[in-house]
């Protein structure tokens, strides 16, 4: 407690509420607190009670002439210190950014997936638990100054890569949030692109079956090409370990595309519908509870993701559906920009380690 600037005696007094063995009275406490209260009262404060308003202006006028000079000096000092702090931290932030960048690059070199699901499985096999529903936030870059991931093509590529890692790690459900909802207009193309990436990773024999959907839109999952030696049961039972059985059941991956309108707007739409129902007498307002909203949103949008991975330098949710975020573990790598495998891997590791207390 050394850094607080409160002497231990005062701290003890305030903590126990006792002064020299006697219980602390209100006045005594006020006296103790006095040095910590702000000195200058902004002129806007309007005291609503007490006899002070008549006295205070006079006091202030008398003291301003005396106080102005130290006030000015103090102000100058504050500006100076602010400049110094800003400068020091700005240097610090830049160094930290550079350091993290280099470190991330090194880790990325050491831990590369080589587009082989076996490598990814090796990285994730020992994890105690995996999320059942993984969610990522991606960003659509208008220009092409950002390396390789610009425009719609870059976005679709990123989705494909992430989908492949997800499938390789054995996670059955992936939701991709992108604020503008560009991907939703190209579900079919997205499906084709992800499938080809999956095939590039897994090879034609073991490519997981894939369905891509978006809220309020038809799910797109073309019938899998007939495969005589495969029973094509789209199960989602985790790792298809190729060593144990010669004919592994095909894994299934569902990709859900979300956008900003699945957040607030969907809740607003739900409210509209409920209002209409209430107006028609089909529903009493008292019947609305968290369960009802939850089940409706679960059906219309998605359930709660277990893990949300951000590929941005800082945590900013950009309109991600709020209702679903309740207990989601949020992962981001500081100062990281852009999709890469080590963020994904570290997120899974962090998720495996965390403990869930549910308020207890």
């Amino acid at each position: 407690m050394a850094s607080t600037g409160i002497s231990p005696r005062e701290a003890a007094v305030l903590r126990r509420g006792k002064l020299d063995g006697k219980p602390l009275s209100a006045e005594e406490r006020e006296k103790l607190l006095k040095p910590y209260l702000p000195e200058d009262l902004p002129p806007s404060t309007s005291p609503s009670r007490g006899a002070s308003p008549t006295r205070r202006p006079k006091n202030r006028r008398a003291s301003t002439s005396r106080r102005r000079r130290p006030g000015l000096i103090r102000h100058g000092l504050h500006v100076l210190i602010y400049a110094i702090i800003s400068f020091l931290f700005s240097v610090f932030f830049r160094f930290r950014h550079a350091f993290r960048h280099v470190r991330n690059k090194i880790v990325a070199l050491l831990k590369y997936h080589h587009r082989t699901p076996e490598f990814i499985q090796r990285d994730t096999r020992h994890l105690e638990r995996l999320p059942k529903h993984l969610s990522v936030i991606l960003q659509f870059y208008e220009g092409d100054e950002d390396q390789g991931s610009a425009g719609l093509e870059g976005l679709v590529n990123d989705v494909g890569e992430i989908a492949a890692w997800t499938a390789a790690a054995g996670i059955p459900f992936l939701s991709v949030y992108e604020r503008t909802g560009k991907l939703k207009n190209y579900i079919q193309q997205t499906h084709t692109s992800i499938s080809s990436t999956l095939e590039a990773y897994f090879g034609p024999r073991r490519t997981p079956t894939l369905s891509v959907r978006a809220p309020h839109l038809q799910s797109y999952s073309p019938p899998p090409t007939p495969d005589p030696q495969d029973d094509t049961s789209p199960t989602s039972n985790g790792h298809p370990s190729p060593k144990t059985s010669p004919k592994p059941p095909r894994q299934h991956l569902t990709v859900l595309l979300l956008s900003a309108e699945d957040g607030r707007d969907t809740l607003v739409d739900l409210t509209k519908t409920l209002s209409e129902m209430a107006q028609n007498g089909a529903l009493q307002p008292e019947q609305i509870d968290a369960k009802l909203i939850d089940s409706e949103l679960c059906e219309a949008v998605s359930g709660e993701p277990d893990l949300l991975v951000l590929f941005q330098p800082s945590v900013c949710l950009k309109g991600y559906p709020p209702w679903q975020l309740r207990l989601t573990e949020i992962f981001h790598l500081p100062d990281n920009k852009g999709v890469n495998y080590q963020v994904f891997l570290r997120a899974l590791h962090a998720y495996a380690k965390m403990e869930m207390r549910l308020g207890r």
């Binding site: 800003s86 607003v268 209430a278 909203i293």
Partner: protein, 363 residues
């Protein structure tokens, strides 16, 4: 081991000597004053996590951990308000926390009561410096004696306009959103015009309805209670009047419908507000944080990277969310400073980017 103990004793002695205490005090003031020079978040939220782990690590009782957490809160509130933060929202108690041991829940409740009662003793001080306290959450879950202390403190500080302290007491965000939806549905499911006989006066019904709609659009959130209370004669709303129309009846916006319009107005079916006029703002205004500036910064201590049902509606757009590894009782200016400076830095960078883009657009 003995050496380190000795060292720590010397440290303690030095740290608690008056000049050092005074010096640190001045340094704090200086830094706070300096921080004021930059942009300051208008609304900051804290998840005060880690009290119990702190207690466990330091081998003290859980309740004592919560007490230290309260002190930490007092320190950080001082920093916040002195730097110019307008609204601070803290997650004091979740509805889920009722699952904890009865002993702990009771201790937390009595702590809240004692602190609020202590606060209420300083009426004049609060008037001069204080923030107004608001308790957000499910009142029905709180015991009556605690509720009494809450109401007293809230009433006493209601006049303070300088800053606001939102204490989320038994709160979960889902509960808040649900309540907001329910409130919205309630207001929209009340007829705004009772059936009356068709008239031959020179006013057109549709025109008036339109006019009323327009009025409503401008003033949806605030004046809902007036509509209901001015209509106590209409059959379906008589029950809920008492709960909805408290306190806000004196506002001047109640000109939307006055009794003279009544007669000209009608139709056989009850007229409702158009549900299509519900927007995200309608819901925002029905949230417990209605009227507060948008949440700029959310800080969670103790390294847990979850929102845990806190401020979901408020923080999912532009809020910077920061997860810190330190436990809440350790949290102080020295942890807050880098966060705040980084926020300022990001803000500045964003500003520059926007300006750059604007210039780009002009070219």
């Amino acid at each position: 081991m003995a050496d380190s103990l000795h060292n720590s004793r010397i440290h303690k002695w030095i740290a608690s000597s008056p000049p050092v205490v005074w010096g640190i005090r001045q340094l704090r003031e200086l830094i706070i004053g300096a921080l004021r020079q930059g942009p300051i978040p208008q609304h900051v939220a804290f998840v005060m996590d880690g009290n119990r782990r702190f207690a466990r690590n330091h081998h003290i009782e859980t309740v004592e951990g919560h007490n230290l957490g309260f002190e930490s809160l007092a320190r950080i509130l001082e920093v916040c308000y002195k730097t110019g933060v307008k609204v601070v929202t803290i997650y004091a108690f979740s509805i889920e926390n009722f699952k904890r041991s009865k002993h702990e829940v009771d201790a937390l409740m009595s702590m809240a009561k004692v602190k609020l009662e202590q606060l209420s003793e300083h009426g004049a001080l609060l008037d001069r410096y204080g923030a107004s306290i608001r308790i957000l959450g499910q009142r029905s879950l709180v015991k009556p004696d605690v509720l009494e202390a809450i109401d007293k403190a809230v009433a006493l500080t209601a006049g303070n306009k300088k800053a606001i302290l939102n204490v989320c007491f038994p709160y979960t965000s889902r509960d808040e959103i649900t309540t907001a939806v329910r409130k919205t549905v309630e207001t929209y499911s009340k007829p705004i015009g009772g059936p009356s006989t068709p008239s031959k006066r020179p006013f057109s019904e549709t025109h008036i309805t339109q006019h009323i709609r327009q009025q409503m659009l401008q003033t949806v959130p605030e004046d809902m209670p007036e509509f209901q209370s001015s209509r106590s004669a209409s059959p379906s709303s008589s029950k809920d009047n008492s709960s909805a129309g408290d306190g806000e009846q004196s506002s001047t916006t109640s000109t939307a419908i006055n009794p003279s319009d009544h007669d000209d107005y009608g139709g056989t079916a009850p007229v409702y507000r158009d549900p299509e006029t519900i927007t995200a703002e309608t819901l925002t205004d029905n949230m417990l944080t209605a009227g507060a500036p948008p949440l700029d910064l959310l800080i969670r201590t103790s390294g847990v990277k979850r929102l845990s049902d806190f401020m979901l509606w408020q923080c999912h757009e532009k809020t910077s969310i920061v997860f810190l590894d330190c436990l809440w009782p350790e949290f102080d200016l020295w942890h807050f400073l880098p966060v705040l400076v980084e926020w300022q830095w990001q803000k500045k960078k964003l500003h520059e980017q926007e300006r750059g883009r604007g210039r780009h657009g002009i070219d």
